[in-house]
Assembly symmetry: C2
Homo-oligomer: 469 residues x 2
């Protein structure tokens, strides 16, 4: 009897051990191991020799490497100590304009003298598709996993985003004069409603209204857009406080108000609003932006290249506003990876604040990730590597000579990294780039289509002698 | 008889044809074909479908592709339409400091509070060699073919430059307090004389004096260095007009003079002089710099990262001064390719001049190539692709998505290119990098030595709690 009891005890112990061990191996899709994980969570937790476990579209674990024994992964990505961080977010661009990149770079009053006429001649459904494809390739290879776009024929952009597997907020332009896909602002609104209808439930695409600017739309249209945005619960993206001329026009319209104060006055600042640029603003404007919980896209490259000035982005960040980095369009920036902005953002804010300690690297990385997610009002889903969030993750090569040695990862990313140091990219749990090879689109085909279209651009606006610098 | 005459005539005709054709095939070492050649010559000539012919260390032809039939090349490099341009020149760096990159990035008064103490602990012959090796790899991969260096134990840097095959101006530091390789300025001068003796006739290495700054050397020492520089016909490189504190110290020493006016007064500005930074200068200083035909290194990244200000580089360029771009050291910049400076130089000068047309791309490329060659007083030998010049040439990949499409090569280089877009590098006629693979050094060994040294740095100054930010 004693023997029998013992036998059962031992047997039970063994089987429970085996059972618990088997039970513990949770099947997952992707396990990133041997990683230096910059989580960008609230405490800026960093795991050395860490891991990230991904199941479906979500992060189900992040922590020290010894957690690995809990999982049985379909695929393991041992990153050999490289940096693993949230995918970069580009809060403001006009992706399709890649096919116009570097045309008329330094032309004064360029928007009205150059860009609008150029677009009148050349923007088409085909141009938007071809340009967006190239932009997607450039952004994904540069570590951008989510971007916010404002352009025409946005349903064409949506198709390309759907195909490549990235995440995007896509805003259909609304403007008071005839453009490629609408005769007036009302048609622009109708186009947006169609886009909302088509993409409202897409897991990676958020449709949005994109009124061009306050000075290119009437007060009535801006109010109507706000109403519809609240009704459909979709973002409104707009250029705001970008030029001194805008301040003059809006002051005239509103009895002396700043563009931000005017927008607040007409009820157009809401938690669905995302403003790009915000260069010419004062402390009262900043207080209004905060009060109305709006998101802000800070585009350093484009703003200084156009000599428009430097947004008080550091002040807004420190005041707790929702602010992220953007590249602006490829005719403005001229590249599309948020990574290209990092060093400039740090350095130019030091310069204008006359303080080398101003805008330290960690703040810049925050604005490229979780800050940008907040700007897009998506911080519950993306922007950091935390359990329950969507798995939008990139891996940065630390073997490239510019990244050696690595004493401080934030500093290395901000002051040393190139967009081309991005090695792998994961969006919505799916590996889209491995060892810099794109897995969902053919990069050569995309380039060839863009080059073929650029021949048309060359013939139309360069060789014809029109719009030549 | 008639028949015979005719036979001889025809025969003579044939043989002379064959002869001339055979005679015309000049044997050369390297032929670059199918190139978009940005010569950076006086007229900024660009050859589409062009070629460059190299024999020994020199360029013997540049022009349209049909010249190819004149040559029989040992090696042909068909670059498929990519950009071929003069190798980039980095006019100011401290290469060996790569092993300290990103330490104490944002510490105020960093030179005295952080860098000098750090160097006192860690600079050694070994550190200089290991750091320079890594810097060489980074620079060569980033398109730099010539650099100007100021540091300690420069003969160690010289050995690494000799091995990798790059070109460099190497300046031994002279400073009035004890440093790693000298107890005082006089010992620094002795070290420089030894360097001059060893490298005076090297085909790719130019030894130089490198007094640290006017405020860290006495007037007597600066005069003695000037005398020796003229005697030995070697450059003097020095930080000049870099900080407001420097202006104060020199004003006190000289009865109110600016650093530039003081240097002119003591006879230290000569055609052998190369000044780095020149931030705090006025129009009289610029006139003095021009009058004395000095070279100038403009280091945008380092100057704005340290919040020191923006040099009036555009004014100096437009006034015809000898000015080129520099990266400064990797604790200041923090990367070492001149290519990383291009966009920042263009954009920040637009910002401070409040003019988007200011500092157009072609001027920036000039400062990265022939302008930099002028700054180093080497424009007779390098800085442009012209017959008779040394073959220091790089090839830039135009297939990378950020480089597509390519309407204006200067614009693409300045606003879009990454250092990693450099595909091939040739120095002194020799191919040193092909398809981004280095041919004269083992990049992995270089990285491993640097990482091993960085462990020592980590233990000495980080884990010990000393010098932590």
């Amino acid at each position: 009897m004693i023997f029998i009891k013992k036998y059962f005890q031992v047997s039970f112990l063994f089987s429970s051990l085996i059972c618990s061990s088997v039970m513990a191996l949770e099947p997952i899709d992707l396990l990133i191991t041997n990683a230096t994980v910059l989580t960008m969570d609230e405490n800026k937790t960093i795991y050395n020799k860490g891991l990230v476990a991904i199941k479906g579209s979500k992060i189900i674990a992040v922590g020290n490497g010894d957690l690995a024994k809990r999982y049985k992964a379909k695929k393991e990505l041992n990153v050999d100590g490289d940096l693993v961080m949230p995918g970069l977010i580009n809060t403001h661009t006009h992706a399709s304009m890649t096919v116009f990149r570097s045309l008329g770079d330094d032309v004064p009053d360029r928007l009205h003298r150059y860009i609008f006429p150029l677009e009148k001649k050349l923007v088409s459904r085909e141009m938007v598709r071809i340009g967006a494809q190239l932009a997607n390739v450039e952004m994904l290879k540069g570590g951008v996993t989510t971007y916010a776009d404002m352009y025409y024929f946005e349903e064409e952009v949506a198709k390309t985003v759907d195909q490549i597997g990235m995440r995007a907020v896509l805003g259909e332009t609304i403007i008071q004069f005839p453009v490629a896909d609408a005769q007036n602002a009302k048609e622009g609104i109708q186009n947006t409603l169609k886009l909302i209808h088509a993409y409202k439930d897409h897991p990676r695409i958020t449709p949005a209204f994109a009124p061009h600017a306050p000075y290119t739309n009437t007060t009535d249209i801006l109010k109507e857009i706000t109403r519809l945005s609240l009704l459909h619960k979709v973002p409104v993206m707009m250029h705001l406080a970008e030029s001194l001329r805008e301040n003059e026009v809006i002051a005239q319209r509103s009895g002396g108000k700043s563009p931000v104060a005017y927008m607040a006055e007409i009820g157009a600042l809401t938690p669905y609003f995302i403003g790009a640029h915000l260069i010419n603003i004062n402390d009262e404007d900043i207080a209004l932006l905060k009060k109305h919980d709006v998101g802000i896209a800070h585009n350093m490259s484009a703003n200084i290249k156009s000599a428009k000035g430097v947004s008080p982005a550091l002040k807004m960040f420190d005041a707790g506003l929702r602010i992220g980095l953007g590249t602006d369009g490829p005719m403005s920036g001229n590249t599309l990876s948020t990574l290209d902005e990092l060093g400039q953002v740090a350095k130019v804010h030091k310069l204008v604040n006359q303080d080398r300690a101003a805008m330290p690297p960690v703040k810049v990385i925050e604005m490229a990730t979780i800050g940008a997610a907040k700007a897009l009002h998506m911080e519950d889903r993306i922007g950091s590597i935390e359990v329950g969030k969507l798995a939008d993750i990139i891996v940065i090569d630390t073997k490239s000579p510019n990244m050696v040695p690595l004493y401080n990862p934030y500093s290395a990313l901000v002051y040393s990294a190139y967009a081309t140091n991005v090695k792998h990219s994961i969006v919505h749990g799916k590996l889209l780039m491995q060892n810099r090879d794109l897995l969902t689109v053919n990069e050569n085909v995309v380039r060839k289509e863009a080059l073929a279209f650029s021949d048309k651009v060359r013939k139309t606006v360069i060789e014809s002698g029109e719009l030549v610098r």
